[in-house]
């Protein structure tokens, strides 16, 4: 290793130190040096490319749905194809994109660096997680190309037992099984790394909040995902061997499948949103140049969300048949989850208050997140309440609600995070003006797509239908226009990122003025992250960080 990386940049640090000639990207060359790498940073980047490609695929399916729904009848897809398109849109977005997006891509890259270690605890396990993810992708593509999956992403029985697309169901459930283990191993790796590998000085309460969020996520991944594993295994056995556990004809119970499925899939909602919340905590603090407000409350609320998340799965099944008392208990528990979520939003706003806000691309995405996530969270309340859920269940209101949380929340935070750490990951600055334009287009397009769906749902438009009544057409068309706008905004964001690789100027060590350890590495970081153990301080103490025009970067005042 030729790079000597000082953990703390001094004001007189030479340019060569800020713009390293030798780093993890050029540490070794050739296809195999990437395919067989054990470096968490390279694995993180491979995940990033993979999840973005999956997102593009899932997004194309989404646009197909929206274009089909332009007319209330005679859409361009057959009903059968429409079923397959919305199923694959959901399944790809959930299992291949959202769940691995933040933890596996950004988390892999950032966790060891933020923590101050050389790598995650089990680098080989980390690489095998990635290949399990690739296997899952291949299985999904098989399901897509062989016959086409048409069960909805939830694989509800008895439909998933009876559908003629048996091969696709088997391929997809096996894909979900494999992806589950990918997710479990990532979570396991992160928990162990955080527990046993923190360097001296890195106490639990000196960890950046992103790590708290990833830790809480990992707990859910480890505890919930195995249940999904056995559920889809039993579903495969149901199709292959007719075991009957979920089949009413054999005295089995399809509602049992729903319980098993949501026991995983509701906590999985928090696998999706928690790391996004972690990103926002970092972005808010760094781009407001102000210590995070209520550090401990944000940290604890992450853990609280992870634990409460296990107790509320029944709210997906209020209309499936459930004892009254059970329904009331599930409803009440559902409302408790809103408390830690609200604590977070309150603290982010508290962080902005009297902060010095740098209005740049990551910050715009973070602001969009807060706005959209709040709408998504609040519209969850009428769905958690028993009486209103009877009306809203399986309507576009639900669709709009979870898109506000999953897409307006997780995706927007993911994009904010990608922009925020892009200079660190690639060593290149992007065009901030164009990036901000992309954030604004995404924000407008998103709201234009999904706000009308709240109205549609409350007026009784059911989800997953290929046709609709003529009076819904204006709102559907507005939604379709919005989705195309959204697609354009996302495409622009991709262009901005890719252009930076071609003509972006070199990124300094600390372009935004962050205080966490990753900003003390060069951009991009060296192969081993830290040649000597870094000095760990308060991750949100910005008092001694100031901009130095000579190196074009924020530096720590000595």
């Amino acid at each position: 290793m030729s790079v000597v990386d000082r953990p703390i940049a001094s004001p007189v640090s030479p340019e060569a130190d800020s713009y390293p000639t030798h780093h993890f990207l050029n540490h070794s060359k050739g296809f195999l040096s990437w395919a067989l790498t054990l470096d968490h940073k390279r694995i993180g980047l491979m995940y990033l490319v993979g999840v973005m490609a999956s997102f593009a695929l899932g997004g194309l399916f989404a646009l197909m749905i929206r274009i089909h729904l332009w007319n209330f009848k005679d859409g361009w897809l057959s009903n059968q194809t429409y079923n397959q398109v919305f199923t694959l849109h959901g399944a790809i977005m959930v299992f291949l994109f959202i769940i691995p997006s933040v933890p596996a891509a950004l988390g892999n890259f950032l966790l060891p660096i933020m923590l101050g270690t050389k790598d995650v605890a089990f680098p080989r396990l980390n690489l095998s997680s990635f290949y399990l993810w690739v296997t899952g992708l291949v299985l999904f593509l098989t399901a897509l190309s062989v016959t086409g999956l048409d069960t909805g992403w939830t694989f509800y029985t008895p439909y998933s037992i009876e559908t003629s697309q048996g091969g696709a169901v088997l391929a997809a459930t096996f894909g979900v099984f494999v992806l589950g283990f990918s997710s479990i191993f990532t979570g396991l790796n992160f928990i162990v790394t955080i527990n046993t590998m923190r360097p001296p000085g890195m106490t639990w309460f000196r960890m950046p909040l992103f790590l708290w969020a990833v830790y809480a996520t990992s707990i859910i991944q480890v505890l919930a995902t195995p249940v999904l594993g056995i559920t889809v295994l039993l579903l495969s056995a149901e199709r292959l061997l007719g075991i009957g556990i979920f089949d009413p004809k054999l005295n089995g119970d399809p509602v049992t499948f729903q319980h098993f499925f949501w026991f995983y899939s509701h906590p999985a909602v928090y696998i999706m949103i928690l790391p996004a919340m972690g990103i926002i905590s970092e972005l808010m603090s760094v781009h407001c140049h102000k210590g995070i407000f209520g550090y401990r409350m944000i940290a604890y609320s992450s853990i609280a969300i992870a634990l409460f998340g296990f107790l509320v799965w029944g709210h997906h099944m209020f209309t499936s048949g459930m004892a009254d008392v059970t329904a009331v208990v599930f409803s009440a528990l559902t409302f408790t989850v809103s408390i830690p979520s609200a604590i977070k939003v309150f603290n982010w706003l508290g962080t902005m208050y009297q902060g010095t806000v740098s209005l740049n691309t990551p910050m715009l995405y973070a602001l969009a997140f807060i706005f959209l996530f709040t709408i998504g969270g609040l519209t969850g309340l009428p769905l958690g309440a028993l009486s209103t859920d009877m009306h809203f269940h399986d309507t576009y209101f639900v669709v709009a609600h979870f898109h506000y949380v999953m897409m307006g929340g997780t995706l927007v935070a993911f994009l904010g995070g990608v922009f925020h750490w892009w200079p660190k990951m690639t060593g290149r600055m992007f065009n901030d003006k164009l990036g901000m334009v992309s954030a604004i287009i995404v924000f407008i397009g998103f709201n234009m797509t999904f706000l009308p769906q709240f109205v549609l749902g409350s007026r009784g438009m059911p989800r997953r239908y290929a046709t609709y009544l003529p009076e819904f057409q204006p709102l559907h068309q507005l939604s379709t226009i919005g989705s195309l706008t959204l697609g354009a905004g996302l495409f622009l964001a991709l262009v901005v990122l890719l252009l930076s690789l071609v003509n972006g100027k070199k990124a300094p060590r600390n372009p935004w003025g962050g205080a966490t350890l990753e900003w003390m590495c060069s951009s991009p970081p060296p192969h081993d992250n830290f040649s000597s153990a870094p000095t760990v301080g308060d991750p949100y103490d910005f008092s001694d960080i100031e901009y130095d025009g000579r190196v074009g970067s924020y530096v720590k005042r000595s």
């Binding site: 396990l125 480890v222 249940v227 295994l233 039993l234 061997l241 009957g244 054999l250 005295n251 049992t256």
Partner: protein, 371 residues
């Protein structure tokens, strides 16, 4: 399992140039010291075991649900499971946990020969377990005691044509044992100590599988004999009911122990006659257990066997996985890689093995001992 492999061998291939000079070969480059490496591996394994427990929990949940709904089905079907074989397998697994724990001790004390021996004993026990399990499975398949929609309990069928399921189950182990025997010949021919240390335990385990098969067959035959002599086992009552043949008089009749009304409507399915036993003996056995005839159909007994095969099958897959990692440990142990600072892999595989044992300790009473 993978978690353990992680802890040790990252050093072998990559980043050779980045090593600190004080890093011994068994310490991965990103760990500071042996203790950190050991702690990480251990925590990783415990977390993995948590996921395993949750993985099985889905099936335990299904078990609880359907047993609660149809307790009589579970009690009745459980009588088809041979408690003796289950008990022997429980004992074998418990003993293997002892040898596994002993292996950890041997690794810490650098007793390399003993370590290989103890790992070999554990592997042998696992093979016996699978041998016995093969007899159990094949016997049930011959009887048509299959899961869900394949359930065709023609209970007199086991005197019909032999379908050769056991031979099918034994084919792959036979091939493996043959290859191991060839490997053993090679090891002794080349006088390689390393290969001898590896081949010995592996070949023994292969032979142990067939020992388990023979033991299982012997006990299964004994059970059969005791049934046909000392009075018919209660489940023969079910032979009179075809699949979906549940609305006959005899169902209610056998409930009330009035056997003469319980004579099967269709003569050729009478087990008492078919097996040469006298009707009187048949009546006596009815006092033990008198299930309703509705039980003997796909939606009832079939569901029990679905759960039985899912639980024991997934458990058997875990035994197989355990055998693979124990074999890997034997290779490492034969190279004398373990010592007091580096025994994490043995320890962690041991933890995994105890969990597999532990799950069986729950499966045995829940499935076999409920009558």
């Amino acid at each position: 399992m993978t978690a353990i492999q992680e802890t040790h061998s990252t050093t072998d291939h990559h980043h050779g140039d980045d090593h600190h000079h004080d890093h011994p070969s068994w310490l991965a480059h990103h760990f500071d010291d042996a203790e950190q490496q050991y702690d990480s591996g251990k925590l990783g394994m415990w977390l993995f075991l948590v996921t395993e427990v949750l993985f099985f929990s889905g099936m335990f949940c299904a078990y609880a649900l359907y047993r609660n709904r149809n307790p009589e089905v579970f009690e009745f079907c459980s009588s088809f499971l041979n408690e003796k074989l289950g008990a022997i397998n429980t004992g074998v697994l418990l003993f293997s946990s002892l040898t596994m724990a002993w292996a950890v001790r041997a690794a810490q004390l650098r007793q390399h020969q003993l370590l290989v021996g103890m790992l070999g004993a554990t592997l042998g026990c696992a093979a016996i377990f699978l041998g016995v399990k093969s007899v159990e499975y094949s016997h049930k398949w011959e009887l048509g005691l299959l899961p869900g929609k394949f359930y065709v309990a023609q209970l007199e069928g086991h005197h019909g044509p032999h379908k050769g399921y056991l031979e099918m189950l034994c084919a792959v182990p036979a091939l493996i044992t043959f290859l191991l025997a060839a490997y053993a010949v090679y090891a002794w021919a080349t006088k390689s100590i390393f290969h001898q240390r590896v081949a010995g335990p592996l070949l023994t385990a292969g032979i142990c599988f067939f020992g388990g098969v023979l033991l299982g067959q012997y006990l299964e035959a004994q059970e059969e004999a005791s049934k046909s002599h000392g009075g018919h086992h209660e489940h023969h009552a079910m032979a009179q009911g075809h699949v979906d043949h549940d609305s006959h008089e005899h169902a209610a009749a056998s409930d009330t122990h009035t056997h003469d009304h319980g004579a099967p409507a269709v003569p050729e399915v009478s087990p008492a006659v078919a097996m040469g036993g006298s009707p009187d003996v048949y009546v006596a056995s009815e006092e033990v257990n008198t299930p309703k005839a509705e039980v003997n159909q796909r939606s009832m007994a079939g569901l029990f066997f679905s759960i039985y095969y899912c639980m024991t099958g997934v458990h058997a897959i875990h035994i197989l996985g355990g055998m693979l990692v124990i074999s890997w440990l034997i290779i490492k142990a034969a190279r004398e890689e373990f010592h007091e600072q580096y025994f994490g892999p043995v320890d962690n595989v041991g933890l995994y093995w105890h969990l597999v044992d532990f799950i069986w300790i729950y499966l045995f009473p829940l499935l076999y001992l409920i009558t």
